[in-house]
């Protein structure tokens, strides 16, 4: 298990001794990724989301906590932690919240964050976060059903409905990429791409570009992200599953929802947009010079920038378009996304076959 050795290089940097035991390295790696990558990026995106939305609506947005309101996410976080729960929470609700959050964060282990920062890189890596997204939808549904409120029931069922309809096109779009790369390993998927945009999978042929669009939009459907969030919107079902949660539980739930959005953007960048590839052979030079930490950092910055831009583009589209009704979302996923995904799959297969034959 050389996959965890990158953690020890960071531990040395903190003045700790060389740790060889995998049982210590694996949890440390997960905690490191969660605390230093996922939480800060979610804070940054939450702030950018609020500011950009405020700009679109000709408002000011957060401006009290810190300069230009940059600490607003922290202020919200600490305020919600102090809140008392507003109603009786049943044991089944606690259980489903805990279980589906655990299922969600288990995907931290398969998150591709750089050529060296790959914890699990197997032949089926690509599918693991995808199945985790389905498990999360099911967990959210059961959380809603255990709430004994109408908003929870309807919200939970709607989340599951959306996830089922969004899963098929997303799966087919994923297979399109695998066809081109000949592998479903993170490393294999990135190895065939280059740093320049024209050598990314998304722009290699028109079918892969269709697959990218289908993958992004079906991700919104699958994870109920705006503007496809009719299952969790406040005007529609008074917040759906989130209506009954408050305080720490709400923080846990919202953070999980944000993390799934972030996860989807990272996967889309890795599959279609060149992932962590650096230009000008920087990675080779740095490997020769043995500057592993710098290489980690640069690759991570590259990937995070692409993911952030992707997230901001989605937010942009979501804030200027109306929220979609839940039955229209499922209709859209089955009658528009799925045919286009299959069309992209046929095209990608033909291109791949042509490449093998000629």
């Amino acid at each position: 298990m050389n996959a965890f050795l990158w953690v020890s290089s960071w531990l040395e940097g903190f003045g700790l001794e060389q740790v060889e035991s995998i049982w210590i390295l694996a949890p440390l790696g997960l905690i490191f990724i969660f605390l230093f990558i996922i939480v800060p990026s979610s804070m940054i995106v939450a702030y950018l989301d609020r500011k950009v939305t405020a700009d679109f609506q000709a408002r000011v947005g957060p401006n009290r906590a810190g300069p230009a309101g940059v600490f607003q996410s922290w202020a919200d976080f600490f305020k919600l932690l102090q809140k008392d729960r507003n109603s009786e929470v049943s044991w089944s609700e606690e259980l489903w919240l805990a279980i589906h959050t655990m299922a969600l964060y288990s995907t931290v282990a398969v998150l591709p964050l750089g050529s060296l920062m790959l914890l699990v890189d197997t032949d089926m890596s690509v599918f693991l976060p995808f199945w985790a997204a389905l498990v999360v939808a099911l967990g959210t549904m059961l959380l809603g059903l255990s709430q004994k409120t109408v908003a929870g029931w309807y919200g939970g069922i709607r989340v599951a409905t959306q996830a089922i309809s969004g899963a098929f096109p997303a799966l087919v779009a994923m297979i399109c990429v695998g066809l081109r790369a000949g592998s479903f390993r993170w490393s294999g998927l990135v190895a065939i791409q280059g740093a320049a945009p024209l050598s990314w999978t998304a722009f290699s042929n028109p079918f892969q570009f269709i697959a990218l669009i289908v993958f992004l939009v079906s991700g919104l459907v699958l994870l109920a992200i705006p503007p496809m969030d009719a299952a969790l919107s406040s005007p529609d079902v008074s917040g759906g599953v989130a209506a009954h949660l408050s305080g720490r539980r709400l923080v846990l739930f919202k953070m999980g929802r944000f993390y799934s959005f972030y996860l989807w953007a990272v996967i889309a960048s890795v599959l279609f947009l060149g992932g962590w590839k650096l230009p000008f052979e920087i990675s080779e030079n740095l490997l020769e010079q043995g500057k592993i930490q710098l290489l980690h950092f640069l690759e991570l910055c590259c990937l995070m920038t692409k993911s952030l831009i992707l997230i901001l583009l989605v937010i942009w589209g979501a804030r200027v378009n109306p929220r979609t009704r839940v039955d229209q979302i499922t209709d859209f996923a089955w009658t528009v996304l799925s045919p286009f995904a299959l069309f992209a799959l046929i095209g990608a297969s033909l291109v791949a076959g042509w490449g093998v034959l000629s």
Binding site: D55, F56, Q57, A58, W316, G317, V320, N321, R325, V336
Partner: protein
């Protein structure tokens, strides 16, 4: 009306392209707001037909949801629209008749002050009598004017007597049921 496969595919592709164009255009609309150089008085609304942009109801997209109209000749009085209406703005009273109307929809009231134009009632309407028109300007200073009545009116005594007589004839198998 049944359409050919080819024309269905073409209209499907047109719909998809129209949707993508609409999303792209609305994204472009938001750009001036990012830099703060927007003009709040400038009209950016797309497709609302108004005299400023000199649009008429004919310029509306084919599936636009205007004021509701019920063709009472085709209405079966099944009350599905009443049951499905999320804001309970539809009120239906119907009773079976024995003349050629078969069912007498005495009251079919739609309260447009409550209606949110979600279109669910038109989707569940089995005989397809309830439809959205392209009429859109339905504002009125009085609440009572907002109720549109499509019903045939209350059943008169002579009608009821006629129906009872006919029903008796049908039961005695003197005449065939229409």
């Amino acid at each position: 009306m049944r359409r050919s496969v080819f024309s269905s595919v073409v209209s499907y592709a047109k719909d998809v392209i129209w949707g993508m164009r609409s999303i792209f255009k609305s994204c472009l609309t938001a750009i001036p707001y990012l830099s703060g150089k927007h003009d709040l008085t400038k009209e950016v609304t797309e497709q609302y037909p108004d005299p400023i942009s000199s649009k008429t109801p004919d310029d509306l997209p084919p599936r636009s949801r205007g004021m509701l109209n019920n063709d009472i000749e085709r209405c079966s009085g099944c009350r599905d629209c009443e049951a499905y209406c999320p804001v309970t703005c539809i009120r239906v009273e119907a009773e079976p008749a024995t003349d050629e109307t078969q069912i007498w929809v005495s009251i079919f009231d739609i309260d447009f002050s409550k209606c949110m134009f979600c279109g669910i009632c038109t989707e569940v309407c089995a005989p397809g009598s309830l439809r959205h028109t392209r009429i859109y300007g339905g504002a009125s200073p009085r609440l009572s004017d907002m109720v549109a009545s499509f019903g045939r009116g209350p059943v008169t005594e002579t009608q009821r007597a006629k129906w009872a007589e006919r029903r008796k004839q049908i039961e005695d198998e003197k005449v065939r049921l229409i």
